[in-house]
Symmetry: C2
């Protein structure tokens, strides 16, 4: 389908973009051929763009010579979205990493796509401003990659995901045309919403070469707590109570009993019962307000049966609580040679019943499932694991069964990680043939020669 | 381009949808041929849908017989978006007006498109929940119309616009296929974002027949104030001070000197100087918090030179302040026979300079401009008026000049009202030829026969 990159084509690319943009050392090809999933495929060459004109030139050549181009940020994705599965050019945007402006008056920032998320959050904070999206890998991930995948994190419940903070884009279309989309204002209804179509398209509709981001005033203070419950239904009843009592927490996380067993030694109390559950709740705002809010939330948790509760008022105490949460993934990784991360979302009211139903799948298919994640928005990280590397025959079948239940619960098969390569086979569980067909047609309008990040998202027809 | 609706076609429609769905009385055609702009064009027939299957059937027939279909909510739009400019069928969705579910556990609602916005807000409030979008016409407008135009209002600064609350849609594509898009969860990254592409497409990409909406906990209390300043730059300096001091008001409105002169008799104080300005600021949250917040905000306003300030703590006091704001449009309407509403947005930091520059246009083009609107998000309602009906020759030229300045200020020509028919000629001021071409191609993918709301949005090629 694609032409291999002949020497002549590579010379042409070098002539157009500059020799120093190209890198074909074997270790580079291998490094840029993977993300943080276990999927990989080496590109034929890596191109590191330093300016938008290079991206334009590259895509024009891709259409002329019919080779694939796969854009990549930090490669911290979990679904293989940046894996160059058709070979060709791996286009790295990490060298376009400048914060061009942070505008205190407009409450906006202009950034290049390779800016690291955490660093950006720290920079805007220095000016009293807040960029809320907080994906788990934000110390590695780039803003451009976050926008490509519409990354989210614990802050989603109160503040939304990356999409909600992208006001406008500069993007190079698959045909090599540069366009700007959106606005640098909080409102704007002129024409179709190309901005939010390209955001979340996982690098299949355009290469993001610049972003105008919305900033908000930084909340002056944060307070947190961790509360233990005898079971998950009790914990979720407390979540419901909190959310319907006028509180909108800035984080609302849960852990299931397996996760607690794994990291329980880090907790300052013994968690009760056979199948306990833990909530982490945070609230942000003015100093006096968060002090009062967190007391009220603690009261609601006790009222709903919390057996133990620790307050996390200081930065150190909060860090300790989040450390427990982060440790789950690390220990799962260390303890299980087979480890498949799923990232489903179910409606808030269905979380407890859904998680309580997981043991039936464990019994049937021979894996264990660790469940933890965002109780406030329904996004459950299901970590499907086994210690027995040779006994995974029915895993695919079991995962399909779980994802079918997600869809039957009116949920979605991915809340944050995206489809990429890893979830392609499951797309049709959620989307109708008509919807998929319409999306393929949109891809074709943007990318008539299918050169940009081909063979992603859509299941083979 | 389109076939007129022959008796045979009308009989076919009646056969497929039911005779009682059709209405061709002259007064009906006239009523449904207009919105609240001064644009109008009678349809050949009005169809009132009661269920999605009728919409599907109608659009299938439209493709078979090549007649245009223009969807319409309450007809409260300001840009002619629902005016059936090509004749054909006017499809009214106002009879699909049921709230199907308000789910306290999932924090979602399922509604039909014809539900009136204000009524919906009141219904969810009874359950302690909040649907923030508050477009000015919300006592008339429908949720479906709000979604089609991505309507916003004062709450945008803190809470966003309609788009931010639409999680998923049921829509009938122009070809007559019914699809569902999105999720009923707060996160979801599966496939392209068709939901937010159809939202804001002004009824050109699909007929919205159902919506799943996001709800949030209702803030327990609101407090407001009105503050007068000697000029607009002083008022905008106060806005900047408030926004960079950790406050995120739930409303932040301004009035220019002309507006104040028009409604000043309703204010409890005499506003100072030649070109004074007024801010209305509200904050919402827990009782004790809003009391303290509004005091702090009042202090910041005084520090930044507010000459007078009234607090609006109770519902009645707030209502009185908003009554002044609402009265502006009514009195403009009463006083000026020629009245053109513009709805531009400029970056926050440019509001003062932009509004201060309006007199130059007044002098040049012979109109007066009233400016008021959303100081917190930069959305300025410019009301271009004259008492002299016979002296409007240079109005178009003057409006074009103002809109060019908006774009040069890195703003957008419409923040809320949309493009419809009224703003079509100005689209190319803001969007590049490549962007317009891409959008036309997307329209073509959705609507190959161009039957749904044709001749809207895009300037003639």
């Amino acid at each position: 389908m694609f032409n291999p990159l002949s020497d002549r084509i590579i010379q042409t690319i070098a002539g157009a973009l500059g020799r120093d943009a190209l890198d074909d050392r074997p270790e580079t090809l291998q490094e840029y051929g993977r993300d943080t999933s276990d999927l990989s495929a080496n590109p034929e060459i890596v191109v590191r763009a330093r300016e938008t004109a290079q991206v334009e030139a590259l895509l024009k050549l891709a259409n002329e010579y019919r080779f694939p181009v796969t854009p990549r940020g930090a490669g911290s994705g979990l679904a293989g979205g940046s894996v160059p599965v058709c070979g060709g050019v791996l286009l790295s945007l990490t060298d376009m990493n400048r914060i061009l402006a942070i505008d205190q008056h407009d409450l906006t920032a202009d950034v290049q796509p390779g800016v690291i998320t955490l660093g950006f959050r720290q920079e805007v904070r220095k000016q009293g401003l807040y960029y809320p999206p907080d994906p788990a890998g934000m110390e590695l991930s780039t803003i451009g990659g976050n926008a490509a995948t519409n990354a989210g994190g614990p802050a989603c419940l109160k503040y939304g995901t990356t999409r909600d903070y992208v006001l406008g884009l500069e993007a190079v279309l698959p045909t090599g045309q540069r366009i700007t989309t959106g606005t640098r204002t909080r409102k704007g209804v002129v024409g179709y919403n190309l901005t939010h179509l390209i955001v979340g398209s996982e690098g299949t509709l355009g290469v993001i070469t610049g972003l105008t981001l919305k900033l908000i005033p930084h909340p002056p203070a944060v307070r947190g707590l961790a509360a233990a419950f005898t079971d998950l239904p009790a914990a979720m009843a407390a979540v419901h109570k909190v959310l319907t009592s006028g509180h909108l927490p800035s984080a609302l996380e849960f852990m299931d009993h397996r996760s607690i067993k794994l990291v329980g030694d880090m907790l300052p109390f013994k968690v009760p019962g056979e199948r306990p559950s833990l909530l982490i709740i945070e609230t942000d705002g003015a100093e006096e307000q968060v002090d009062r809010d967190i007391e009220l939330i603690a009261g609601l948790c006790r009222q709903m049966g919390a057996t133990d509760l620790i307050m996390a008022g200081t930065e150190e105490e909060r860090e300790r609580v989040w450390g427990v949460r982060r440790e789950i993934s690390l220990r799962i990784h260390d303890n299980y040679p087979v480890y498949i991360p799923e990232d489903v979302v179910v409606p808030l009211g269905s979380i407890a019943a859904f998680v309580e139903g997981l043991p039936a799948f464990e019994d049937e298919y021979g894996f264990e499932v660790y469940a933890f994640g965002h109780a406030g928005d329904g996004n459950l990280h299901l970590n499907i694991v086994t210690t027995d590397r040779n006994n995974t025959d029915r895993f695919d079948e079991g995962i399909t069964a779980i994802l079918k239940k997600v869809v039957a619960s009116r949920g979605t098969i991915s809340g944050e990680h995206g489809i990429g390569l890893a979830k392609k086979p499951y797309m049709a569980l959620e989307l109708s043939a008509d919807s998929l067909e319409l999306q393929r047609s949109i891809k074709k309008v943007f990318d008539p020669n299918n050169v940009l990040n081909p063979n992603k998202l859509f299941p083979e027809a």
